[in-house]
Symmetry: C2
Subunit: 543 residues, 2 copies
């Protein structure tokens, strides 16, 4: 078969798979937003059918054959050309898929589906024992998955090395990998647990003392420190400003205005309400983000919207010409999270951001904010304090929550930690890292949905996102200059254009770590994040 | 193959086809309600892929083989058993599908898709000449479709008669059919144009003089007749009450209350806003209806909602056990329309309905209705007068609009009327039947979307729905008694239960005309409709 024909057919089939997957995405979005409760059973049948059709087509040996033809041709000569990138990444996902026995895939789907309500019930009643057998089964299945993915058995349709006209020197044997790595690799291609552990260790060493200093300052300031507003609630914490009454309709107007100003295109997207906020890139020209409103918590919806806007800008910035192929898709969860964190934290929690938006906020939320100064408001949205719940954590302590999970899930997978011993280990780590001990397992090891859904290896991508965000933002500042000045005028155009060009349009041309190095000149690194946190908090609290 | 196994496999495949079709329905609903405008291109690609997958599976020869096994077995011995019904109707749709060459199906899809914006543009500019070549092409394709459907060539997988253990005496040769019939049959299985023409002729003979009498009375009453309200706009028509200001949010509250009271289950359904109202039964437990609000037209949304509620109640009343198979699906467009018309007209335009709801309407729309009496309001919602636009027509003149279209589309298809001569023929018929002449083609032959979408044979199902509705409602009154009394208390339970049992739960056990005869003891008949209209309008105007 002619390689060009093979490539065209490969891309045609890949696009069709993307249309199918994007149909499931829309069904999923609808399920979270507008589906009447009576539609749940029917929806699961639709989703099951679509998943089956997708699996059938995504593991069709014909795909492997087409890939083999392309891989043995000149089309892949230039490794960062679209054809080479697509072939490389399609091979990667094809191999992953065909290595997983259908029985295992089905067992995982069934088990995690059944485990969901058990986890909800266990969390509600703070009853870890109820969830324990489910987690044991899930950990075992994930071990099996890891083992299947780690096999180097030949894949049907994979070209023998000798056929390749672009044979390279044989790659050195990969280092002995942890069973965690093939799972991590699903979310963050090319990452490995050893490098992550080194990186996270360095981050932790810096964060722990920094958190101690800042949260002490915060605590003192909130209780009897100098008041910056004329009429602060007596004795109230400064962050209590944000728990005043912020009417929902006005939160929506204000949040949508900020989202649009950041560049989220509402002609090619929507913002709706869901219990758990998310961003779903349905397809070219259709990206849907969600939030939730709490009338006594300004931060929840506002920074939640800016976070999802970051994800949404990435989706809206992908190259439509390459839609449905790796060249038109996001690189990894970590890079995706870097975009959300960059907009949520580096932009929307910055002083110049609020120089522009606070006067408008004070007009819109006049009852809540008329007696509040810009200083007080900016301090409030950057309040720091150790807490037990990850999703409520501040910018400074957030990564410590992730590091705890990263260490524990590796130990669970390797067998170093028995599931039965998880609550004790969790509580001990929280005390050690954050200085707090959960009162029960609902605010301890049962708080997150991830493990019950079989998502092992997902957590570290949150911290990678924070690290990448700081590296990218520092580089953007250096290259563009004047970002703070622009933010103070409500202008994010040059930042967005830079992200579009450096990250969004690039699709999966490079793996995440390579992309970061390509853009910033440095490998993934904890220092830019630490530097930016130190700078921000020293300005806020004079540490 | 064992017939029971064959039947199970047939049903499994049929259900999967329904899940796939219902996925397209959800995508279609989303497109009309919430999809951002930028998502249109992506959506068309998704829809195209799903249509292709559906076609591929629905014409799989394996389906024909499975059907043949079932058809030759004892499973179909009892013709109204679920298995026999499913086999009969699946055979019908399978044969229709495989008789249409893929090239024709694609050509029709492409042509009607391209014709849509041309029709919109032609209607906007009142320029029939622009639309003419598109309609010519569509009529030609529909002639081709009709010819393919009319062939009696053997279908692969259809059992030879000799194999059947339930061989009947050979059926008499069918009467020579009009080319219109195979198209009509798609919407109203078993209907034929000759019988419809007879029925519609009888209806028209009664309607024309009735309309003349009533609209003259209406006209007189509106101009100088006794005023029932204390503060009617001077010289204004009595129906002008309904064009006062009805705030949208309150229309929604009131409409939803009436919908829920009628039995529409909002836990298994939704009501949203679209440019063109519709009802989409996504699947068991998930039925979505839509409406549009005009703050200066009470009737548009309110009776629109009750109309869609009628469709929705049918969808919500289908037997979930038979979901996705003919036994769990609506019989025909005509029967579907009978449900919407029954709730819209026989229920919601009745005097006892407003005995209950008018006091609430007067509280909710107090500015608009405080000076209006129940009599005046009830008269206003039953205003009669010839008009040019079908979708704005009243209950009495509506069917005349349909009869015009029914006659014209037959003439177009047979070639008796050239497309070029359509505007003149349309205008002449409107003058003859309704006594009005369109000022231009936008309010004439370009007003409806149907022909541009290739829907030839669809219009008569609207009038069939009106006839069936009157027959069913008369029967329900006879069997149940006390319906008016119940309506006056806002109680529709016994009527709904009766419809559930007689119509909704029956699925496609019987073809439409047989169903009507089975329930009412009479074939489709124009007399119950005429009788109910005469009774209503003589009460209103003392004719």
């Amino acid at each position: 078969m002619d390689p060009h024909e093979a490539y065209s057919e490969l891309i045609r089939r890949t696009r069709d798979l993307s249309y199918l997957a994007s149909t499931s995405s829309l069904l999923g979005w609808d399920e979270q937003t507008f589906m009447p409760e009576g539609g749940a059973f029917h929806r699961s049948a639709q989703m099951g059918l679509l998943a089956g059709l997708h699996h059938e087509r995504a593991t069709d040996p014909k795909l492997g054959e087409l890939l083999a033809v392309v891989e043995s041709s000149d089309l892949v000569a230039e490794p960062t050309s679209p054809a080479a990138v697509n072939a490389r990444e399609l091979r990667r996902s094809y191999n992953r898929r065909v290595r997983l026995p259908r029985t295992l895939v089905e067992d995982l789907a069934r088990t995690t589906s059944l485990a969901q309500p058990e986890w909800v019930a266990a969390r509600t009643t703070c009853d870890f024992v109820r969830f324990r057998p489910w987690l044991e089964k899930i950990i075992q299945l994930k071990r099996d998955e890891s083992a299947c993915l780690a096999t180097e058995t030949p894949i049907a349709g994979k070209p023998a090395e000798a056929h390749s006209s672009h044979k390279k020197a044989p790659a050195p044997a990969p280092p002995a990998r942890s069973p965690y790595d093939p799972l991590l690799d699903d979310y963050e291609p090319g990452a490995n647990s050893q490098e992550l552990a080194t990186l996270f260790h360095a981050l932790r060493s810096e964060l722990v003392p920094l958190v101690a200093t800042i949260s002490e300052r915060c605590r003192r300031l909130n209780h009897g420190g100098a008041s910056t507003g004329s009429n602060q609630p007596p004795g109230g914490a400064r962050s209590a400003i944000l728990t005043r009454f912020f009417p929902r309709a006005r939160q929506q107007v204000f949040g949508e205005a900020a989202a649009a100003a950041a560049g989220f295109d509402f002609k090619r997207g929507r913002l709706d309400v869901t219990a758990h906020p998310f961003c779903s890139g349905i397809g070219t020209g259709d990206c849907r983000i969600t939030t939730r409103y709490d009338e006594h918590n300004f931060s929840d919806a506002f920074f939640g919207i800016l976070h999802e806007v970051g994800h949404g800008l990435y989706e809206q910035g992908l190259d439509p010409e390459h839609y449905g192929t790796p060249m038109g898709e996001a690189v990894s969860l970590g890079i995706h999270e870097s975009q959300s964190r960059l907009w949520e934290n580096a932009v929307a929690r910055s002083r110049p951001f609020w120089t522009y938006w606070f006067p408008m906020a004070r007009r819109i939320f006049h009852e809540a904010l008329s007696d509040v100064s810009l200083d007080a408001f900016h301090t409030a949205v950057n309040h720091v304090g150790p807490s037990l719940i990850r999703v409520q954590a501040d910018e400074l302590t957030y990564n410590l929550h992730i590091i705890v999970r990263f260490e524990l899930e590796q130990a669970l997978l390797s067998g170093d930690l028995a599931v039965a011993d998880l609550p004790a280990a969790w509580n001990q780590k929280y005390e050690e890292v954050l200085g707090l001990k959960p009162g029960n397992d609902a605010e301890g090891c049962l708080q997150d949905i991830h493990w019950s859904a079989g998502l092992i290896g997902y957590f570290p991508t949150y911290t990678l996102g924070n690290l990448y965000a700081a590296q990218l933002f520092a580089k953007a500042e250096t290259e563009l200059g004047g970002l703070e000045e622009a933010f103070a005028h409500g202008d994010y155009e040059s930042l967005l254009a830079w992200l579009r060009q450096k990250v969004h349009c690039e699709g999966q041309r490079r793996r995440p770590a390579e992309l970061i190095e390509h853009i910033t000149g440095n490998k993934p690194d904890h220092r830019p994040l630490i530097a930016s946190l130190k700078r921000k908090y020293s300005e806020l609290y004079g540490t």
